[in-house]
């Protein structure tokens, strides 16, 4: 019998740092444009000197808007059975980044546009082998 483990849904997207959970991206030091996930070069067409360095984003944000996903998303998305609707939001971060993420609330229908939200790393689903697969979400307090 193997011990259940926790694995991120994708490598290099987020991390639990000493200061708490953070999104892992990059920032162009020339034009200050933030990128999530990391970019190979600056995609700002007005920036003529791409200089990217690693950057961490979060945990604080504001929910610009949201939806509730009432039906199970098609593959390659995965979820725990039985499927339970969840909220998805567009979250504006003070670093100038607008991020797509699940919104973690007890009842997805209680999600509120404009609310303050905070980055968390939570289970997305449990794999058939019993491993917990985690993703980044934003929690509405």
């Amino acid at each position: 019998m193997t011990t259940p483990t926790t694995t991120p849904v994708a490598e290099g997207l987020f991390a639990e740092t000493a200061a708490g959970p953070r999104l892992l991206g990059s920032k162009c030091t020339t034009c200050e444009t933030p990128y999530f996930p990391k970019a190979a070069i600056c995609h700002n067409p007005n920036c003529n000197d791409s200089k990217l360095e690693d950057a961490e984003f979060g945990p604080h944000g504001k929910l610009w808007s949201y939806t509730v996903q009432y039906y199970p998303p098609p593959p390659p998305a995965k979820y725990d059975e039985p499927y339970k609707p969840y909220a998805i939001g567009l979250i504006d971060l003070p670093e100038g980044l607008r991020v797509l993420a699940q919104v973690s609330t007890v009842d997805p229908e209680s999600t509120v546009g404009g609310a303050d939200v905070e980055l968390v790393i939570e289970r997305l689903y449990t794999s058939p082998e019993g491993n917990e697969v985690t993703t980044f979400k934003f929690r509405q307090s």
Binding site: V9, F36, T67, I88, L90, L100, A101
Partner: protein, 392 residues
């Protein structure tokens, strides 16, 4: 660039046709367009086709080559355009360019699709380097969730009601009753729509377009050729293609920048603005619009994003019936994607067919009175937008 006319249009009805191949649908549409144009197949000098991800084209998106083989291989140039759901619009744009530049006098534009069963995945690439793939696996978010988020933000900002959303779907079906090519030709009541299942809050099942099979074709020609056939042709006033801007506030992967101002669907706005410029026309000149109503939300957002109405005004236009064929801003008199279902790569060509019928006054009970200028628009994966203006 010289003047280009829409000489003929043709469609196969939209629906699900298990017993027909994509070539069967295509042939019906192309033969109808040729007949409408009174042009024989060997007269066609080039083909611009929407390239399908899902059907035909030898699995390489060669849908234009399929139709040339079917109709008879005359050796003409064939262009197959990929642009997600904007492919039909892109194909029209290249067809237009081939005639406008003086290269060819008679060009066939065409789009056809047999959609696969079940839900469409946004991306076909299952790699973490693909931003669409990454969004699906890490956020569990299919395409319609975008529409839900945009719509709920609009509700918060303008107080849009669920009933107003439902009215748009009711209007779409009221129009489709009179369109023999539509898939759904029965009236829906407000209650029907409001009782349909919530899909992506605040959008319900009947407020989002399903998928369909379908095919549409257009024969374009030079002014000289057009005048041999008719004294009063339908003209292409403008045909444009654009992509989204870097500062657009709708993430295409996992994130975007926070835009300086409300900047959404910049690909559509850029294409439409350029079309007005190219045509030397203004939003007020538009008699009717065929826009990409994958969801009722777009009938509220697009008119204000393109300057057809004031910000926040669209809801009252819907309530007053101004977006019906007899209103001041008729939107999707065809019945739109909501009544046809989306046959992805055929939609941009389908819109041109409806505009042509409307401008000729051949739209029967869904006719927009005195239609002089028609605007069509598509939007596709990858940030592709297209706009077409026809005039009479």
């Amino acid at each position: 660039m010289r003047e280009v006319a829409v000489l003929g249009v043709g469609m196969h009805p939209w629906g699900k046709f298990a017993d027909k191949s994509i070539t069967d649908l295509s042939r019906t549409a192309v033969e109808a367009a040729l007949k409408d144009a009174n042009v024989a197949w060997p007269e066609i000098e080039a083909v611009s086709a929407a390239s399908s991800r899902f059907s035909g084209g030898k699995g390489w998106g060669l849908n234009g080559n399929d139709i040339v083989e079917e109709m008879g291989s005359t050796g003409i140039p064939v262009y197959n355009l990929s642009a997600g759901c904007a492919a039909g619009g892109n194909a029209f744009n290249i067809g237009y360019t081939l005639v406008a530049s003086g290269l060819y006098d008679k060009v066939l534009v065409f789009g056809a699709e047999k959609m696969p069963k079940g839900m469409i995945q946004t991306s076909g690439v299952e790699e973490e380097t693909d931003p669409e793939y990454l969004r699906q696996v890490s956020v569990g978010m299919p395409g319609p969730a975008f529409w839900g988020m945009l719509c709920s933000q609009r509700m918060a900002e303008y107080g849009t009601t669920e009933e107003q959303l439902a009215r748009i779907a009711v209007k779409a079906h009221d129009n489709a009753v009179h369109n023999e090519y539509a898939r759904f030709r029965k009236k829906f009541t407000l209650e029907d729509v409001l009782n349909s299942n919530m899909v992506s809050y605040p959008l319900r099942l009947y407020e989002i377009c399903p998928i369909s099979d379908g095919a549409a074709a257009v024969v374009l020609c030079s002014a000289e050729e057009a005048r041999k056939h008719t004294t009063d042709p339908v003209w292409v006033a403008a045909s444009t293609v654009a992509t989204y801007r870097y500062d657009d506030g709708i993430p295409r992967g996992l994130a975007s920048v926070v835009p300086p101002a409300r900047t959404h669907h910049s690909e559509a706005k850029l294409a439409v603005s350029k079309a007005f410029d190219d045509a030397s026309l203004a939003p007020k000149d538009v008699s009717l619009v065929e826009l990409q109503d994958n969801t009722v939300y777009y009938e509220l957002a697009f008119p204000e994003e393109w300057g057809l109405c004031e910000p926040g005004e669209a809801e009252s236009l819907v309530e007053k019936g101004e977006t019906t064929p007899v209103g001041s801003l008729p939107i999707n008199p065809s019945g739109g994607f909501l009544s046809f279902g989306e046959a992805t790569t055929a939609m941009g060509v389908f819109q041109v067919c409806e505009l042509a019928w409307q401008l000729r006054g051949e739209a029967g009970e869904r006719q927009v009175p005195n239609a002089k200028v028609g605007l069509a628009q598509t939007l596709g994966l990858g940030g592709n937008g297209t706009a077409t203006i026809l005039k009479r």
